[in-house]
């Protein structure tokens, strides 16, 4: 238990450092964001007053302190560009991304882990070859290309699904699901590859251990040995899976861009193009928090399955 608490406190510390680094970065960039926001012919006074309004004239550490106090008290601030409240902006975008990313990720777990197990249990069989081809293409082929190909063949060619956009649940459940199918498939292709690759190598590793040989020699049933082996090969897969869940928001950036889904990742990309610093900072921070939470829950899960970890602490 101490282990997890220690990890958690370190994560909080890491969050402070990362948010400060982001602040620093936006400050070392030559040129004021005012030039991106205000008109080209804005006078020097206008720029200065705009900077003062957004506290940009203060030193970095002071700006960071103000931002930190505001954020911790629940006030996420406003966008430079739209002047909209960032909290409402996030409330609109985060659920959309969370929904389709989780669906795609869940699909990848359901397909990828059994595929990896099957290929580890039958090395060099046809299913092993299929799994390895899927794994290699899945990690190598860029997902925005897969997305574009799916749109051009499945939506435009066959007309099965809409080519882009996100239909909210309020517009009916069938159109909502239809708008999710292609992005979910695109994302899950990549992570199916990741899961089957790591499950396969971890399972092969466990199967070659002495205790499995002993269990076999003692005449334990095949299925039972498989279950034991799977249980022991899961911890590294869980760790990789948790990291992958955080990374999937990076992939979501490209997929949302292609499909035009107005989610968190797309709003990050737009904020970058518009130099909307508060928006960039908040979005990166949210993704980081999700990433850290995923890693922490992986630690907890491993703690539950792996008795060795429990005894250590």
């Amino acid at each position: 238990m101490w282990l997890i608490l220690r990890r958690a406190s370190f994560s909080v510390f890491a969050l402070f450092i990362i948010s400060f680094l982001l602040f620093l970065l936006t400050n070392v960039v030559p040129g004021s964001p005012a030039s991106a926001v205000l008109d080209v012919d804005a006078s020097l006074e206008e720029i200065l007053s705009w900077e003062r309004e957004h506290n940009l004239h203060l030193p970095v550490t002071e700006q960071y302190w103000i931002w930190l106090c505001q954020t911790l008290s629940g006030d996420l601030g406003e966008s430079f560009i739209t002047d909209r409240d960032l909290a409402t902006e996030i409330k609109d975008t985060l659920p959309i991304t969370l929904e389709w990313v989780s669906l795609g990720f869940g699909l990848a777990i359901i397909v990828g882990i059994p595929l990896g197990v099957a290929s580890a249990l039958n090395p060099n069989s046809w299913i092993d070859h299929i799994a390895r081809v899927v794994a290699m293409t899945g990690i190598s082929v860029p997902d925005y290309w897969i997305a574009l190909m799916l749109i051009s063949f499945v939506s435009v060619g066959l007309g099965w699904f809409p080519p882009g956009g996100h239909t909210p649940l309020s517009a009916g459940i069938i159109p909502h699901i239809k708008s999710l199918v292609l992005p979910v498939i695109t994302l899950s292709l990549h992570y199916t590859a990741v899961f089957s690759r790591y499950t396969r190598s971890s399972m092969l590793d466990v199967l070659s251990q002495d205790y499995i040989r002993t269990a076999r020699a003692m005449g334990l049933g095949r299925i039972r040995i498989w279950i034991y082996a799977l249980k022991n090969s899961l911890p590294p897969v869980i760790n990789v899976g948790a990291m992958s869940f955080g990374f999937s928001f990076g992939h979501a950036l490209f997929i949302e861009h292609v499909f035009g889904i107005a989610g968190l990742s797309l709003s990050l990309l737009n904020a970058i193009n518009e130099l909307d610093y508060p928006m960039i900072q908040l979005n990166v921070l949210i993704v980081t928090i999700i990433f850290i939470l995923a890693n922490l829950s992986a630690d907890c899960l491993n703690f539950l399955i792996n008795p060795r970890l429990r005894r250590q602490t």
Binding site: P30, P142, V240
Partner: protein
């Protein structure tokens, strides 16, 4: 007898020679590794010799011949401005490989030195500080950070007077720095087991200084895992460059880059100019698959103990 003497004299050379032939024959035994090596060599060949072998000028606008499907004079067709797709693909290999290779070269020294020192002085305060620092950088998804940093720095070249920092150089540095934590951790894993081995203790009692122990004895033992990682990270760099260019943060049009070509092809999804979409994506995929297969084969030959490679998303 004479032969034996020769062997002794040229021992060093012969050892290397044996290693190289062993390596090549091991590589030739894996079909996929051989294919990967072939693809890697082919892409480097295309990137280096693009100006001489490309049939057309990649930026030559030829409006009368625009949007031609693949034919005898334009093997992969032409784009909206009548530019030859094949020539642009050949030139597009340049930024991809430049970013892929240079980013690894930038990240490697930092990652190796941090990993070596932390591993050698395992348990000391130095190790704690170094490894915690890498953990903090590793706590954010790589792609998101790369996109955010490049976006904040802006895509315009920064003119320093004596030197112009192009956007490509920025990407190379950002990726290179983001590679450091992963490399440091994998080097740390090897170095920390080597540091407590008997031969290192023996060398210590002989009075060999730490510096020469770290770089003379421990470093060579880390090189195989570093080689494998370097190959796989190059694949990651190729993907990252294409992705950044695809969302407009990498190579800027009209220069040829696979990501730029794909993002231009997006406009033609609905009108059926499939060659604009198909070939650039294929080029990225084949290149990345080639590097990954080559890297996997290298790992099987050089370093079969470590199953997992780097995460590049």
């Amino acid at each position: 007898m004479k032969k034996n003497k020769n062997y002794l004299i040229s021992e060093k050379f012969t050892k290397r020679h044996i290693f190289l032939t062993d390596f090549l024959s091991a590589l030739a035994n894996t079909k996929t590794g051989l294919f990967g090596a072939f693809v890697v060599l082919l892409m480097f060949f295309l990137a280096i010799f693009a100006p001489w072998i490309a049939p057309y000028d990649p930026t030559l606008i030829d409006v009368p011949n625009r949007l031609q499907p693949p034919n005898l004079s334009h093997w992969m067709g032409t784009d909206l401005a009548g530019r030859d797709v094949l020539s642009r693909l050949m030139w597009g290999a340049r930024p991809s490989l430049q970013v892929g290779v240079l980013a690894v070269l930038i990240g490697m020294p930092g990652g190796i030195v941090i990993g070596l020192i932390a591993g050698f002085y395992r348990g000391s305060l130095l190790e704690t500080i170094l490894m915690r620092a890498t953990e903090i950088i590793a706590a954010v998804p790589l792609l998101i950070v790369a996109v955010a940093i490049v976006g904040i720095l802006g895509v315009n070249p920064i003119d320093l007077g004596f030197f112009t920092i192009t956007n490509e150089i920025k990407i190379v540095f950002v990726l290179g720095i983001l590679y450091i934590p992963g490399l440091a951790r994998v080097v740390f894993a090897v170095a920390s087991t080597e540091a407590v081995s008997d031969y290192i203790r023996a060398r210590k009692t002989q009075g060999v200084r730490d510096f020469s122990l770290i770089f003379g004895d421990v470093l060579p033992n880390c090189l195989s895992v570093v080689t494998v990682w370097a190959t796989l990270l190059t694949a990651g760099g190729v993907l990252a460059e294409a992705g950044l260019s695809f969302v407009g943060l990498g190579v800027q049009p009209p220069d040829a880059s696979w990501g730029v070509m794909l993002s231009e092809a997006r406009k033609f999804i609905f009108s059926g100019e499939w060659w604009l979409l198909f070939f650039p994506g294929l080029a990225i995929s084949i290149t990345v698959i080639g590097f990954n297969l080559f890297g996997d084969a290298l790992r099987d030959i050089l370093d079969p103990r470590h199953y997992t490679g780097p995460r590049i998303d």
